[in-house]
């Protein structure tokens, strides 16, 4: 199957992206975001989940949480390129909400066949969800989980669960008698305890979630297979978030170096500042092109999706690090302070950089695909 020339990014996708950009600009300008999430700077601050549920409800009402849910399951069934466009704008706003975790669950559930339909129906009705599939070591392998399923009950702890305190459900992976299987668990279910992590990123929350004898019904026997199938989309969507956030960092920094003067010139006059910012732009554009290519491959050339998605997230992780580091550096002293909004995005990007595999992790996997496994 061939990819369409325009990535399959049609009018509907453009409209969605455009309206998302305006929505976030209007609902959550950066000063408001800072006021919402950055009230307590103390390093030992207690973990909090700070977000605006009313705006989230508006997003649900607009159908954004179900864009990826297939039409057959009651969703909108938009292609991954359209979802990437929406999430790029979410990243540009560093908007705190469980949209990306919910989209991630949607892709995994869609890979579960008919077993995933009922849970997809929940998402189509406006419920949110997050993946609880990572072990304490933070392994990104789909076969690693510290949760077990025995006698119809889940036990153990899932780590690094994203936006755990914002969601309605967890999609849990657990070792069962048949391998790694998947389970759809309500956050309110008896035996579920959410322990919030004290994290650096102010635009998200994260937790480890402990399951103690939680009754659950198996969704998919081959859970790691479903996760493997969904991962290219999960990486690509996160990479889109990184692109949006990086573009905010770039434009904000360009504005700053065009205003701030030293030695009788705006900082951007000096090539020691100008050239690296161009390099940030070049890096963002590489990632952005790779993101829409990967998204398009998932939509229309699935046999190449894995390769292209590894490229997208590897590139995105570099972009996350580079865009955020340069933004703080070229804001100078003010960029090192809590009052300057740059740190919100700096922290989100550092979180994004490692989440679901950093650049080296994805390049290692890509090398395995293109050069074969390393000979013993």
């Amino acid at each position: 199957m061939a990819q369409p020339n325009n990535f399959g990014f049609g009018e509907e996708a453009a409209l969605l992206k455009d309206s998302a950009r305006k929505f976030f600009e209007e609902k959550m300008p950066t000063n408001q975001l800072h006021a919402l999430v950055a009230g307590d700077p103390t390093p030992e601050r207690m973990p909090e989940s700070l977000w605006d549920k009313d705006i989230w409800q508006q997003m649900v009402d607009l159908g954004w949480t179900m864009v990826a849910v297939p039409e057959a399951a009651g969703g909108i069934g938009m292609p991954v390129v359209a979802v990437a466009g929406l999430v790029e704008e979410l990243g540009r706003a560093a908007f705190p909400c469980p949209l990306v975790p919910t989209i991630n669950c949607t892709y995994v559930l869609s890979a579960c066949g008919s077993a995933g339909e009922s849970a997809l129906g929940d998402i189509a009705e406006g419920k949110s969800a997050s993946l609880a599939i990572t072990n304490q070591q933070g392994s990104w392998s789909t076969t690693d989980t510290d949760v077990r399923f025995e006698n119809g009950k889940l036990s153990g702890t899932a780590w690094y669960v994203q936006d755990a305190r914002k969601v309605d459900n967890f999609l849990v992976s657990a070792q069962s008698t048949t391998g790694v299987s998947l389970y759809w668990v309500s956050c309110d279910a008896s035996g579920v305890v959410i322990d919030p992590d004290a994290i650096i990123d102010l635009s998200r929350d994260q937790a480890h979630v402990t399951f103690t004898g939680v009754e659950a019904v198996e969704l998919a026997a081959d859970g790691s297979g479903a996760l493997d199938k969904a991962f290219p989309a999960i990486w690509t969507v996160l990479a889109a978030d990184i692109v949006g956030a990086a573009e905010w960092l770039l434009q904000t920094t360009v504005d700053y170096v065009s205003t701030r003067k030293q030695f009788e010139h705006p900082l951007g006059f000096f090539q020691a500042v100008k050239h690296p910012l161009v390099d940030v732009m070049v890096q963002i554009d590489q990632t952005k092109s790779l993101v829409y290519n990967a998204a398009c491959a998932i939509d229309s050339e699935p046999e190449k999706a894995l390769k292209y998605a590894h490229m997208a997230k590897a590139s995105a992780s570099e972009t996350a690090a580079f865009s955020s580091g340069r933004a703080v550096q070229y804001h100078g002293g003010i960029g090192f302070t809590w009052e300057c909004y740059v740190h919100l995005y700096f922290k989100r990007q550092k979180h994004n950089q490692m989440l679901w595999g950093d650049a080296a992790w994805h390049r290692r996997a890509l090398a395995g695909l293109l050069l074969g496994p390393i000979a013993a």
Binding site: N5, F7, M281, V282, M311, A367
Partner: protein
């Protein structure tokens, strides 16, 4: 069917099938000599002859200059050069030798030249019979191009030219040169004018072409000395003092960001032509033993290679995104990155190949034990031509920082 074929207009679709069937019967076949990596390194008459014959036959068949009007020797078609290029590349043809002519001189002469000059010069440019070169840089005018000193003095209705141009690729084969000249010493930018001047017919009559030898040992570019060369005023492009604006047309097309698509063929696989890309880099790694194993099994080299693979794919996808306005914030942002990114990726790819070759990277073209015929160290050296010529990478970053990001203009 290729991706783009699905979007053809009826004219393009018809033309595409014509190109395809013509190319099937008229491929020029294996070159009789080793061809350099790009036409700018053509060194011998034999190389040139083979390539000129190819360009002539492609022109006669209507595959070159398709979108120019018929009065100037073009095909009078609409947005069909792109189609011809795609088909010529798909048919794995040799590259076209008159690259500077088609990529820079043709659009500049077309937009700024007098009708008579266009009609006289463009047909033989498209056919490749007249090779063209470009006279911009001078010993004292490199990145600061507007400081050119080569002077044209008006004598009646003639101009008398004196000065010195450098880095002039293909001048030793060229019939014509597009040239940026100073006509007024009191204004830096407004004192520039743009001309077309004869080279080969004027050798010994005011023009001297001397080869410059590159760090690779190859020739291909030259210095050109003008001593009282007399040219007719009709060879002036656009108005007196408008040379800088005309030069922008040239540079825009050189950077692939102009209105008119440049005719392009290529893809010919021959033992002697070795492209600097990651497919060849991976091939090299798979064949090169290093420290008791294959280079492709070394984790650090694998990571370096993958970085290049990703950048190369990113550049390829930039070209694709270029045509999707909804995924761009600024129309010049991607086009102006092409040259910078392409040249730096090629340089880094060649550098990794040299690293993989290790001790054997010391062996050059004349050594029978040199891996891949010594092409990788040569490509690495040649890559500096790419990052310096046509606006150094540093100038490219200035342009991007100023025109796209809007930062303050650097000196």
């Amino acid at each position: 069917m290729s991706d783009s074929a699905q979007k053809d207009t009826s004219e393009q679709a018809e033309f595409r099938s014509y190109c395809r069937s013509w190319l099937k019967d008229n491929h020029p076949g294996e070159p009789p000599v080793r061809l350099p990596l790009t036409p700018l390194e053509i060194m011998t008459q034999e190389q040139l002859g083979y390539l000129q014959a190819w360009q002539k036959s492609a022109y006669d068949a209507g595959l070159i200059g398709c979108d120019y009007p018929q009065e100037v020797g073009g095909g009078g078609r609409s947005d069909c050069q792109r189609v011809a290029n795609e088909e010529m590349i798909a048919a794995k043809t040799p590259y076209l030798p008159n690259v500077i002519g088609m990529g820079m001189a043709a659009p500049t002469v077309f937009y700024h030249g007098q009708e008579k000059v266009k009609q006289e010069l463009l047909p033989r440019l498209f056919s490749g019979e007249d090779i063209w070169c470009q006279g911009f840089s001078e010993p004292e005018a490199g990145s600061d191009l507007a400081s050119v000193q080569t002077f044209a003095e008006k004598k009646g209705d003639k101009w008398i030219i004196n000065g010195h141009k450098v880095w002039t690729s293909l001048a030793h084969f060229a019939e014509w040169m597009i040239i940026l000249l100073r006509t007024d010493k009191s204004h830096k930018y407004d004192g520039l004018s743009y001309f077309v001047v004869p080279i080969r017919s004027a050798l010994g009559k005011g023009v001297t072409v001397r080869p410059l030898i590159k760090i690779t040992g190859e020739t291909g570019f030259n210095e050109v000395i003008f001593e009282d060369l007399e040219v007719d005023d009709s060879f002036r492009l656009d108005e007196l003092g408008k040379g800088w604006q005309v030069a922008m047309t040239t540079l825009l097309h050189e950077r692939g960001a102009g209105e008119l698509q440049t005719p392009r063929s290529g893809g010919l696989k021959s033992k002697a032509t070795h492209a600097t890309n990651t497919a060849n880099l991976m091939e090299l790694a798979k064949q090169t033993p290093k420290d008791g194993k294959l280079a492709s099994d070394d984790v650090l080299l694998r990571d370096k290679i993958m970085q290049q693979v990703i950048r190369e794919e990113g550049l390829r996808q930039n070209q694709r995104r270029l045509r999707v306005p909804a995924l761009q914030d600024h129309p010049m942002r991607l086009p102006l990155q092409n040259k910078l990114l392409g040249s730096e990726i090629a340089q880094d790819t060649a550098a990794i190949a040299v690293e993989i070759e290790g001790a054997s990277a010391s062996l050059y073209l004349g050594d029978e034990n040199a891996p891949v015929g010594g092409e990788w160290p040569m490509a690495y050296m040649n890559s500096y031509g790419m990052t310096i010529a046509a606006g150094t990478s540093e100038i490219q970053r200035n342009i991007l920082g100023e025109r796209v990001l809007g930062m303050s203009k650097s000196k």
